[in-house]
Amino acid sequence: MHAHKENHAFEPKIVAFVCTWCTYAGADLAGTARLQYPANTRVVKFPCTGRIDPVFILRAFQKGADGVLVSGCHPGDCHYMAGNFHARRRFAAFRALLDFIGVDLNRLQFSWVSAAEGGKWVEVATELTERVRAMGPMREFRELETEEQWSGAIDTPELQAAYEAIP
């Protein structure tokens, strides 16, 4: 039996940075259990959330991700004892920074999904996909990619004239 499938005008790209011990295994479990969720998520596997550098999140947005998910072991379950605790602080600070820069935090989701939580993985992936789908594409970083240094900000009449004078 196939569920009714809607066609959406926009399908977001979601990048998921996950640890191998908990969330990756949780996503595997979702598969073993044949749970269904939107096909928008692309998983990048790490040993531990402690390995996930904020730069990766930035890079993902720059390279066209519309939403980013970071997920690892629940506190106390870290295979490496404390990696997720360090990650928790790092990302608390990083998301505050992104927020201050003006990135809509609805595009960035953090979660703890254990190896036993196939259902939670589906829930988190679905929720983020649907939310970002409703928000539309992440234009901000993509626009930056296409812009050039002089594209707009310094906009004096003299410069404009000079610019236009270029044959």
């Binding site: 600070a93 201050f100 003006g102 812009e147």
Partner: protein, 309 residues
Amino acid sequence: MTNTAQTIDPALYAAVTDAIRAEAKKVLEAGAAAAVVGWQAGRRQGTAMPAIITDPAKVAELIFSPACVNNLALYLSKAKKEIRARGRIAIVVKGCDLKALVGLMGENQLKREDLHVIGVVCAGVQRAGAAKDIPLSEETIAGKCRECTVHTPEGADVTVGTLPDLPHFTPVESEELSRLEAMTPAQRWSFWKEHFARCIRCYACRQVCPFCYCEQCLCDRNRPQAVETTPRPAGNMAWHIVRAMHLAGRCAGCAECERVCPMDIPLNLLNRKMAKELKELYGHEAGFEVKEKGPLAQYREDDDQSFIK
């Protein structure tokens, strides 16, 4: 803002200058330090620049004035590395500079016993581009000094000067921070986008920062290239985000990055914001005591995780 008491009495700076010279002479003569890092008069009237004095006869070159804006901690972390090899160094610091020294000690870059710290009581320094040789006032004082909490450095080997009564200044930096915080994300994005678009990637901000002492900056690497190096908006945005993130929990707010920025990008706003967040989240304030672990190098099992599903 109407009466004449709205300026800072320059007598403080003269008194501090004398005291710095006396202390520098004392430590150089006694051999307690191989060199004194301080400020001397700049070539142009009313300016100042960093100085390294090794000869006790030349201590009279040292000065302290509202033009002594440079954070000299820089000269112990990465610039002028050769002077560290000479032995124990005396360094003149304002309260804000001392916070950088303290941070560097926590990061294994300096040892307290290798330094003779001459703390100066500072009522404030000039903002970039202010008229020289007039007493500091609402018009000429640097933004960071308006809401300074460390006029008197704590924990120096000697501290010279007495703080005069200070006029009330408008806290422009925190007002600006509040203004930004009240905006919508989209408004903030366009604010920063506009500012960062102007960045020419001269890296003066990096060069002047006492904490940017990496041998090779992540942002100069090309395998992989995490941050685009050409001065285009995308790379600029990434550079400033990475910079703010790397300074989070470490930056002590000397605001040198902002002072040296030729494009007038309000960089200290980012630093202030991160400092504020880390204080609210983990009660951390940089630069007040030598801490083995910064806020992002440690954790508590009950740290806030309300943002994690």
